[in-house]
């Protein structure tokens, strides 16, 4: 079947198999940041934006994205770098395999709730599993990033 999807700002028309999952569609277009960690919608690694809202691309048929906007970390490089630097400064990226999904969801959180409490951060990102970091370094990074933004983008170091 034919689909028309705006992937990272670029309109694409593709002939796809009707059972194709969105994760396989975006990866076939070089969006390798999108990872598969579980197949059961538990890990959050495959998070992408559908019309600006975070969704799990392993649990959505590509056909459902027909006529919609899809964004992956490849299309959000500036935001990824800006926030990711804080993760890097904690050493909390570790193996990095879960990072894109977590950073996508963190970006969604920052857009939705620019001043989240610790509890709100944890709840929003609860669906993003990480086996390396124990989550504490990610939390420190998020808090420092929010602090940096509150100061108008100046480093809080």
């Amino acid at each position: 079947m034919k689909v028309k999807i705006v992937l990272n700002g670029k309109t694409r028309e593709d002939e796809i198999n009707s059972d194709q999952l969105l994760i396989d569609y975006v990866r076939s277009h070089g969006c390798y940041s999108v990872k598969r960690g579980c197949e059961t919608s538990n890990c959050g690694l495959c998070t992408v934006f559908l019309d600006g809202k975070p969704i799990l691309s392993c649990s959505l048929l590509t056909a459902r994205a027909d006529g919609h906007r899809v964004e992956t970390l490849e299309g959000l490089q500036k935001e990824a770098e800006e926030f990711g630097a804080f993760v890097a400064d904690q050493g909390a990226e570790q193996c990095g395999f879960c990072n894109p999904g977590m950073i996508m969801n963190a970006i969604a959180l920052f857009r939705e709730n620019p001043d989240p409490s610790e509890e709100e951060i944890k709840e929003y990102l609860a669906g993003n599993l990480c086996r390396c970091s124990g989550y504490e370094g990610q939390l420190r990074a998020i808090k420092q990033f929010l602090e940096y933004r509150r100061r108008g983008g100046e480093s809080c170091e």
Partner: protein, 767 residues
């Protein structure tokens, strides 16, 4: 120090946080055959026939292999130095399948859909055999997991396939029975831990292709490139010289990828067909057919006097290696050798074990490697002893713990040349507020707050076995390239080793490019496991740098027309002692490429006769809901002595990550088989690794000793950090409920039922 001990950002950090394509499946050739295996639905069966004719007709199917197509010499998939202690008990495909999930056929085809279809069309006739699913029943059972006569063991580990024994041994110091008899109090307990999954976010995966020289190239998510080469050569029956193994970024390992789990199947396909292929395990396959922790039952007897003097410890471990013996003979050793030595006061100890084959998934290496299981048992028993003696558990440990300078008879007679365990314990206790909070406070709302504590140790590499190597070369712009075969699996060893090189070469980390790991271009390294990389490979880096500096002085001496002894290396330049003349490092670099006879490239290896233990103490405060059994972790204080902390950020995150895995193992992650030997916890839906709502607040500090034999005084940190949560949490749960839980995981359900049971019994027999 300038670079070592600094919180340097990981060299690959920005690529990882921006999602760059650096993992195996991002980089694999795009025209790979997709490889999958058909897995046995039976726990123990002989294959009578495999019909593949219909499956082969599926469009896009390239090839299907069965047991008749593979070499018949047995090998082990354990990534260990040759000769492997693990028995040679595997074939790529075996006619005898020994657990639910054991491979029956390999299918390769153009895409996933056709391979999946072909898998469904293969018809297998089995002779189903009775299976051993309870590891207590395994030893000397008439059902044999490995009845075959080409089963071989290369090391004297006490293995006997006619008894379902993968390993067996006993060691002791002094007369433990006599000392125990003479003790005022003897506490005995049996502690059961499950076959937990490492559950790294990137499942097992390998891509293979043939190169221009007709060699088989293996591109795999592995911790052990050189062992993979050796194991594949044996499994495929081809020369090692025909194989090259490389690793890209690895999406987590934790020991899982110290076993050759995925590699043999695509390697066989590519070698046979000449076509590129790849195999990517599903999460379900990673859960049911991989290399998890060894299930163990550890029985501890600890004897002490009324004054709190611990005099004797007797430990027996029964370990379940499952259907195959990967890491079976070695993991079990750590359950005693890295738990008993925590107590320096012992007059006698005994440690005995049996490792048995059963018809469940084989075990492998998982962070902690047996020490985790043993420390849960020993530290729980010591906490129970404190309760029996009416003594504060911190005080009891202060009286008995191992101290710097002591010889540890249960740790191969090694001496603790660096040990700050006493400071770790004191600090952890004070961080958690032990004096005020021990044992518990009833919050008056059905909830109890309580604390628990435990100590831990591990090793730093395998003494006199592990080899770490480093090659460092000067480039023409004055920068360096560091080649290693240690595997950065997210731990940051590329950066940590670059920090050491930068410290030695008086430059910045940015001036050191790191390349690894590749069996063709990297110097030999056993690989990243056994907490070896910082300690073992780090020393090799230090040595290689020292040698390279001398070489640089030689070349600079020729340039300045003086002798090397009259020169001094000053980082970005070489100058004469009187500073009257100098050449820049870039000039030396250029010179090395014009009319030069001294290679500005050095390789050094290191193997240590010692394995200095890192030490730590962990203290936890929980809030336990007596109604539901729910345990909330309020605070976890961890204090680690890993020697010199090479990178405080990375060491802290290692600790937090290890604690989280330990918390998962203790409270949530269950392994349950049904009566047919099928694993119930075969997805992240049923196997609950902790989320960020489950781990609580963690605080990490370091109390460093200085290890003379390590690079810049460093020991290890990767594994030890998983060892304290189980005993510390079990202790806190006891302090909240009065119940000792000796089987993991300690789920809310078990706690609630335990409380209920006790109150029922109390009603029946009022005291």
């Amino acid at each position: 120090m300038r670079v070592v001990s600094q919180p340097v950002r990981k060299k690959d950090a920005m690529a990882l946080v921006t999602g760059k394509p650096v993992f195996m499946d991002d980089l694999a050739p795009k025209d790979c055959l997709i490889v999958k295996v058909l897995r046995s639905p039976h726990a123990n069966a002989n294959i009578l026939s495999v019909k593949t004719d219909v499956a082969l007709k599926v469009p896009g199917i390239e090839v299907i292999y069965t047991w008749e197509d593979v070499p018949q010499e047995r090998f082990t998939m354990a990534g260990q130095t040759y000769p492997e202690p693990s028995p040679q008990d595997r074939l790529i495909l075996d006619r005898h399948v020994r657990y639910v999930g054991d491979p029956v056929a390999i299918v390769a085809g153009e895409n996933e859909a056709c391979v999946d279809r072909a898998l469904r069309l293969i018809k297998v006739e089995y002779e189903v055999l009775p299976a051993i699913l309870d590891f207590h029943q395994a030893m000397d059972n008439p059902i044999l997991v490995h009845p075959e006569d080409n089963w071989v063991v290369l090391c004297p580990v006490g293995a006997d396939n006619q008894r379902n024994l993968c390993a067996s041994d006993e060691s002791h110091n002094g007369d433990v029975d006599a000392v125990l008899k003479d003790c005022d109090v003897v506490v005995e307990g049996t502690y059961h831990t499950k076959a937990n999954q490492q559950a790294m976010m990137e499942t097992f995966r390998t891509a293979c292709y043939m190169d221009a020289y007709g060699r088989l190239n293996i591109f795999s998510s592995t911790q052990i490139v050189f062992h993979v080469r050796r194991i594949l050569a044996k499994a495929l029956g081809i020369p090692k010289s025909k194989i090259r193994v490389m690793k890209p970024r690895i999406g987590g390992g934790f020991g899982a990828k110290q076993t050759v789990v995925a590699e043999v199947f695509p390697a066989f396909v590519t070698w046979k067909t000449g076509k590129p292929s790849k195999m990517i395990f599903t999460r379900e396959e990673s859960q049911v057919a991989s290399s998890p922790r060894h299930e163990m039952e550890v029985t501890v007897k600890v004897g002490a006097m009324k004054d709190g003097r611990i005099r004797a410890m007797d430990v027996y471990t029964l370990s379940n290696t499952g259907a195959y013996g990967e890491h079976g003979p070695t993991t079990v050793g750590l359950s005693g050798h890295k738990s008993i030595p925590l107590y320096g006061s012992l007059e006698a100890h005994r440690f005995a074990y049996d490792v048995v084959y059963t018809n469940v998934m084989s075990a492998g290496a998982y962070r902690g490697y047996g020490a985790t299981q043993g420390i849960f048992a020993v530290e729980s028993a010591v906490n129970e002893l404190a309760d029996r003696l009416g003594m504060d558990p911190v005080e009891l440990r202060e009286k008995n713990m191992v101290r710097e300078g002591q010889v540890m008879p249960a740790y191969y007679g090694e001496q603790t040349n660096s040990c700050a365990l006493d400071r770790c314990l004191e600090r952890a206790a004070s961080m958690i507020g032990w004096k005020d909070k021990h044992p518990c406070r009833d919050m008056g709302n059905g909830k109890v707050r309580s604390v628990g504590i435990a100590m831990a140790m591990q090793g730093s590499g395998i003494a006199a076995v592990d080899v770490g190597s480093a090659t460092i070369k000067l480039n023409e712009d004055g920068s360096y390239t560091l080649l290693i075969a240690a595997a950065d699996m997210g731990t940051g060893c590329d950066t940590i080793l670059a920090q050491m090189a930068a410290e030695c070469m008086e430059c910045s980390v940015e001036d050191i490019a790191v390349l690894g790991a590749d069996t063709d271009s990297s110097p030999y390294d056993s690989g990243s496991y056994a907490s070896s990389t910082t300690y073992v490979t780090g020393k090799a880096v230090e040595r290689a740098c020292a040698q390279l500096k001398e070489r640089i002085l030689e070349v600079a001496g020729e340039m300045l027309e003086t002798s090397a002894e009259k020169l001094v290396f000053a980082g970005d330049r070489v100058e004469t002692l009187d500073q009257s003349a100098s050449v820049s490092l870039a000039e030396v670099g250029f010179k090395s490429m014009v009319g030069n006879n001294h290679a500005l490239q050095v390789t050094e290896s290191n193997s240590s006769p010692l394995s200095p233990p890192p030490f730590m103490a962990g203290a936890v405060e929980i809030e336990l809901d007596k109604e539901t059994g729910h345990v909330e972790i309020l605070d976890y204080a961890a204090v680690v002595d890993c020697g010199t902390v090479v990178n405080p950020n990375l060491a802290r995150v290692q600790t937090e990550g290890g604690l989280a895995q330990g918390i998962g193992m203790t409270l949530y992650e269950d392994i349950q088989y049904d009566d047919k030997g099928r694993l119930r916890n075969n997805s992240f839906m049923q196997y609950k690794v902790p989320t960020r709502l489950d781990t609580g607040r963690m605080r990490v500090e370091f109390e460093s000793s200085y290890e003379e034999s390590g690079p810049f005084g460093a020991k290890s940190i990767g594994e030890i950090v998983i060892n304290t949560p189980a005993p510390a949490l079990a202790h806190a749960i006891f302090n909240a409920t009065g119940l000792w839980f000796k089987e993991l995981p300690i789920t809310s359900e078990k706690i609630a039922m335990g409380i209920l049971e006790r109150s029922k019994n109390a009603e029946k027999t009022p005291f």
